[in-house]
Symmetry: C4
Subunit: 241 residues, 4 copies
Amino acid sequence: MPLTVLSIAFLAVYAIPILAPGLPSSVRQACEVANIVIWAVFGLEYVIRLGLSGNRPAFVRTHWFDLLVLVLPLLRPLRALRLITALKVLNRRTQALTRGRLAVYVAATTVLITVVGALAALDAERAAPDSSINTYPEALWWAIVTITTVGYGDYSPVTVEGRLVALTMMIGGIGLIGFVTGSLASWIVERIAADESADDNETTVTRSDLAGLRDEILQLRTELAALRSTSADAQAPPDRE
Amino acid sequence: MPLTVLSIAFLAVYAIPILAPGLPSSVRQACEVANIVIWAVFGLEYVIRLGLSGNRPAFVRTHWFDLLVLVLPLLRPLRALRLITALKVLNRRTQALTRGRLAVYVAATTVLITVVGALAALDAERAAPDSSINTYPEALWWAIVTITTVGYGDYSPVTVEGRLVALTMMIGGIGLIGFVTGSLASWIVERIAADESADDNETTVTRSDLAGLRDEILQLRTELAALRSTSADAQAPPDRE
Amino acid sequence: MPLTVLSIAFLAVYAIPILAPGLPSSVRQACEVANIVIWAVFGLEYVIRLGLSGNRPAFVRTHWFDLLVLVLPLLRPLRALRLITALKVLNRRTQALTRGRLAVYVAATTVLITVVGALAALDAERAAPDSSINTYPEALWWAIVTITTVGYGDYSPVTVEGRLVALTMMIGGIGLIGFVTGSLASWIVERIAADESADDNETTVTRSDLAGLRDEILQLRTELAALRSTSADAQAPPDRE
Amino acid sequence: MPLTVLSIAFLAVYAIPILAPGLPSSVRQACEVANIVIWAVFGLEYVIRLGLSGNRPAFVRTHWFDLLVLVLPLLRPLRALRLITALKVLNRRTQALTRGRLAVYVAATTVLITVVGALAALDAERAAPDSSINTYPEALWWAIVTITTVGYGDYSPVTVEGRLVALTMMIGGIGLIGFVTGSLASWIVERIAADESADDNETTVTRSDLAGLRDEILQLRTELAALRSTSADAQAPPDRE
């Protein structure tokens, strides 16, 4: 929970200098300092969790994404990737996964990647002389056109950092399309299967069918037990004779 | 039914001033008035349904799309979204969902989004000085290139409202691809499974298999009953002795 | 079979005047005449099949694609669509549908749509003054960029007929992506299910499991029959006594 | 294993003259010679394997991709396709296919196609006067934009060879999207099915259910055996009487 607050604070101090480039230099520096401090806190948190974990190599292996996000920010516009770890918290809670929850989670990730990616691209591109992405609305429009893989080409990044951001967004876009498609496919399969099951019901075996069978076997045993006792009675008289 | 007629009337008074910009100002104003009147009727219908519903917060929650469509038209080009609610009526009737009906429904929605989206984009873009979308054929071509996610970039919106329309169409396009893919995937899985079932039939359990088992258990009980009666006969003589 | 030959002849007389615009006018006219004659033969064939069919409205309904292809060629560049009916013949033969056969069929359709679509687009675009598609290699490159939905925008059609061809190809492209995805999805599901079945085997019920159960019940009956006969023997001596 | 080393050596002698066009002509010629020698080794290896195989036509049919890769390099920029055969080795080892291993394999293939495709496109395009792809970073950016099917159009190939490379990458891109989608679809289906099985558990038949049934039948047999022996005891005394 405190880490989520910290993530939002990180987004604020990251976004403010990008969105308001005319800020006095002291405010810009304060944001930069806050940015580095929050980064250090996340680094410390990672080191503490690493120290507390019993099996350290296993911890590094299963938390590789946390480490990547921690190291990547050396490239400044990629620092925004930290926000995605906040969404990972959501992921952990989805024990009973329904299609609706998955959709909300994917939609939230997509919006976050688009909004933050536009920030990062603007940060990287604004300084380039031949760049077409110079304002946040333009960056956001470019981000939407990219993540949906439409790619008009009216705006496109020209710097290495801007293109790394674009690569992240294109991968996100393919994942988004994949999720939407996969979700619809599973829904279609389910709906059509449900409609067909009205006819199919006669030929599938359920536990209640087996329960019926078991009941009959139990009756068989009861009858057998009755037979045994009468048989025993029948034997007893000859013994007494 | 009257609401469907009203939706078509809405499309007409929405489309006419866009498609025929040279109309006398009195006709344009009549269309604008009719547009607002129809909007008010839809608003009234929503309020009445809200009033009639027992659980009002639940009604707002389950009918969020109706409310969104009611509020969004404040942005004029987005008023066309109202038409999509007419398609929701279709959706309610699809109790027995087959792949064919789904395909017709998806195709109809796609055509409607494309035609109406082109109208809305033309309305938003025509006034902009540096816009490339100035006639309805151009808008329709742009809409097709966008919804299929091809995105040549020969035409692209430059206004905020035009880009919001584009965003709606890109989301529609991803949904369209997702549906086509999901539908084909479920069809492929089904066809291949059907062809394999000729060989597979030997290893699946059906109720008729269980019925065979139950028959044998019943015969067992019959024999046991017969055994019991002969055993009872066998006992009787010693009693009489 | 003669219709397939006729389809190939149709492609030839359709393609030759487009690919070799410098032909003497007499050759061009001969091709045009042959084109119309073949069109008439297909029309005649449709009318004969319609006449022979018992239920004519049903025939029109189930053969709507044949009728569409017959009527559409009035728009000259769309005449090429006839070739797709030749592929429908292939479709009829796929009784036992395997993933491999489907892939071959889809690949063949995609190549045909691309090659013929490039012809049709070149035919439509060459005459337009501001068109970028002026040679067959350019048209083919444009067709590839369109059907894969990449859409660079270095070449794009500007005429209504060229854009109708593009629409057909975009729909084909979405279908292509849908097929590839659906095919891979069904393959992945199958492969992973097959690998899991090694562990899963313990918990699924097959007919051989039921056969084992039935064997035990049969043994039970055999023993019961044996018991009955010994019980009958046991009764017999007292009777003789 | 030696073939994998040879493939990497092939990539090196292929890439060096492309990435460093300012090399002295002697080094360029050495690379070209090494390239041809490695090509000859691969050709020899194919011929030897063909000679050793019992059924030669079947060998050609099942190893068509190896032959294609061997013949295609006559078009120089396509020689890079040889590297994909190295990945086929990976494919052979995936006996127990899990979704994770498939993802690693697909990701590796995608990165290889992108990196090598950018090399091949740069090789083909650099010489063309009106080409926009003149440096390796530009070629790599173009390759990423193409394989994700975004297609901005800021860079696009103009030569026939460059466009053949683009075609290969677009097919790769569609395959990539298809794999991601199919993988997510199978994952979603599985996760949702797993969550539903908590409720569903009551109605599915497993082998443990059958085992319960079998236990009861075994008890039945045991009791029957006991009945038989007591019945035999009962008979014995009268015999002795």
